[in-house]
Symmetry: C3
Subunit: 327 residues, 3 copies
């Protein structure tokens, strides 16, 4: 694809010679003359002037530093995402049901859907038109996979799980397992039945080995365009607002409610029954212990230190109340 | 089921009209006239007086606030768990072995057991009477699944794993993988063989994507009625006492020993070779760095703060020893 | 095996009677007369004098305390690892492809390789000579499994994943899933294509339910002899140096670079785009928030306290800046 064509498809203007041919994408410091690259993070500005890329997507104010054609963008990372998709080779999943799949006779597979090898689909479940159920997936009873959704491989939907349109779920994810409901009685635990389901909105993405439990009563809900990284734990009856993104290994306890456009850092935790309003950022490995009513960035923890120095501060932390009273 | 019948089956007395018909269960604020609800957490007392439920399970001292029949209970959450189980529709797993399952000729499947589609069972493993091995499970060599136990779907028992009676294991759980045993030698790592197994007592529950490694020498052990949520990591040779419950994403390092009736919060960690006595509570995301000899509640970490304020405290944490000496 | 023979195979000298017969291995406090045991951790010195083991591997300076034959070693744990391997019974995996496996016609399975039941192997993937692909594994397109590598069971390699020689991967691990790449645009998220792959060096070990994402551009890389425990998350474009070991539930964010011979504690986190030099130890549940340029041990967090005392310190942590200014 020549640069001019690329720019037209992205709706961007070009500074410099727009006749170079582009065959792939690469970061600034590794790109060659047939690569498209981009500048989004100002930290990499220095690399722009020395890149060997054939063209770059960059903001207007950085364009003059580039030794090649510049596709001028107000949001270079987003435009780069669009451009990269043009060069992506995604494996073809042909419509139809693989001979090794086991499908309950009451289940339905929509037109154009792909059901891969060694898949199980249980009673009354419905696979939408054009959806992909990759190798080794297990879908239990009463589930719905939306139109164009993709379960990459070895995904499990346990029971009463509804997946919206174009949702992408990565391997090892488990949706709709029993929530962790226990009543203490006579010295031991009694299981509380988990009668609800899981509802995932359109355009969500769910990472590898992430778990989303079904509700105790009522459903666990992700609104549209929620993005979950790998190894996230979402407990029963959690509700996550549209456009919220959570990084790897974060976790939300039962019945917590997270707003829209929130960013939850890696390894962060949210206690149960809390509410977090829209547009809240939680930094990595912080623990949210109370509801948050104002947008903004929140943190807990202590900074990384040399272990010897840390030990001294740690001992003093134990004495803090005494020190404060004395002070 | 009418309220009177329900009360009789639960062994509870009724205040108010006991002739209403109940068809399901719901929380106080969403219940309709054919729903049973409950009050356990005092926080929701306000909802009791306005509920539309047909009947509620509640403590005696709250009964007069209810606009409907009250089943009087000393442990409303436990009695509600029993009631909800009466309304639960669990998928039927008919006895027998699915045609797509692959079972080693030296393995044994007990009377009334269900072995689902696309299951593998290895040499010398034994599936107990009435047990369920759901779709996609992999059971390796020398494993035993107890009477009435259920492996929901896609559970892996690697080798030498014994599961007690009525144990419930959720999808993605891996029991009996190699413990993480390494000896450093000549600049690199040497694997230490993991020769032990895993023993899970009766009535345990193990969450989705939880991992329990087998012992290096001797076994990793969960006593009866241990309850593990999702994504928990139990390392080799850990021993967990009866009736202990651990919340999601918590982890226990090698050879640690946890007592009975402990509660381990979400994301909490326990270092290796420690002992925690009975009736200890660890709050969420705390790290246990020494043995605990007295029952009680233990914590580490710092409270959640606005990021700007947190940065100031974090800088001062580094200076704590100096501040204390100066103070 | 008699003690003399064992010592010869390990290249160690013997103190005491070398004619006892050894049939297994056990820890000092549980060993019987036919067991070999070892002393590596000085904490267990007391157990040496009372052990019933038939022989022990121990350092020279502890030998005189032993009531049995001593195989004198400078690295008792490593020599014990070698000895234990002689007594390990590993399940035989006979060469060949199980009838229930589904293998794309463009895939290649090397001489002597074992492909187990209910395995899927996708287009153009290559299984090396003598490799083992255990039951329920899913291997997507364009993957390579090195000579003698073992995927124990239910491992997923998504796409463009290269595994070195003798690598061992435990159940539930997912390698090569999409990295978590998102561009924010017009109020929602745009997926950034993940065009790279994963490269795992020789002799690595990867724990159960661990996830390693493929690179956005370029690859995610583990050099030789990297050892990962269970439930670890490695994000896209991370690079981990040879001989580094990471404990369970630790996580590394995108494009971080970790040196050689590092030890990352359980539950620890490393933020994205950082560099950690060789020979760095991070203690459990610490968060690395900046690059580390000097070898050594680093920590964050606060010590475990009784909850009541902790609450007092926690409140004071919030006031730290004020206290310091006042002080």
């Amino acid at each position: 694809m020549i640069v001019r064509e690329l720019a037209e498809r992205l709706g961007l203007g070009v500074l410099g010679d727009d006749r170079a041919t582009i065959r792939g994408v690469a970061p600034l410091d590794r790109a060659v003359a047939t690569d498209l690259s981009f500048l989004a993070n100002p930290k990499y500005r220095g690399q722009l002037s020395t890149t060997s890329a054939g063209a770059v997507i960059a903001p207007a104010d950085a364009a003059e530093r580039a030794p090649c054609a510049v596709l001028v963008s107000r949001n270079p990372y987003a435009d780069f995402a669009r451009a990269a998709a043009m060069f992506e080779h995604r494996p073809q999943r042909s419509p139809g049901i693989h001979a090794s799949a086991v499908i309950d006779e009451s289940a339905t597979v929509g037109a154009g859907a792909h059901v891969g090898p060694l898949v199980f689909i249980g009673a009354r479940s419905i696979i939408g038109p054009g959806a992909t159920v990759g190798p080794g997936c297990v879908i239990g009873e009463d589930c719905v996979v939306g139109e164009g959704a993709e379960l990459v491989a070895r995904v499990t939907l346990v029971v009463r799980v509804q997946i919206g349109k174009r949702v992408l779920i990565h391997p090892g994810a488990v949706l709709g397992a029993d929530g962790f409901g226990l009543a203490f009685d006579q010295g031991g635990w009694l299981k509380v039945p988990q009668l609800g389901g899981v509802r995932i909105g359109d355009d969500c993405e769910i990472g590898a080995n992430t778990t989303i439990d079904r509700g105790a009563m009522g459903d666990t809900v992700l609104e549209n365009d929620v993005r979950l990284d790998n190894q996230i734990q979402i407990a029963h009856n959690v509700h996550i607002g549209a456009h919220t993104a959570m990084a790897g290994c974060s976790a939300v306890a039962g019945s917590a409610r997270i707003g829209r456009w929130c960013l939850i850092g890696g390894g962060a935790g949210v206690l149960g029954h809390l509410e977090i309003c829209d547009k809240v950022t939680i930094t990595a490995m912080s623990l949210v212990t109370h509801s948050i009513k104002s947008p903004g960035e929140y943190s807990s923890g202590t900074p990384l230190m040399d272990n010897r120095a840390w030990r001294k501060s740690a001992v003093r932390f134990k004495q803090l109340d005494e020190l404060a009273r004395r002070g």
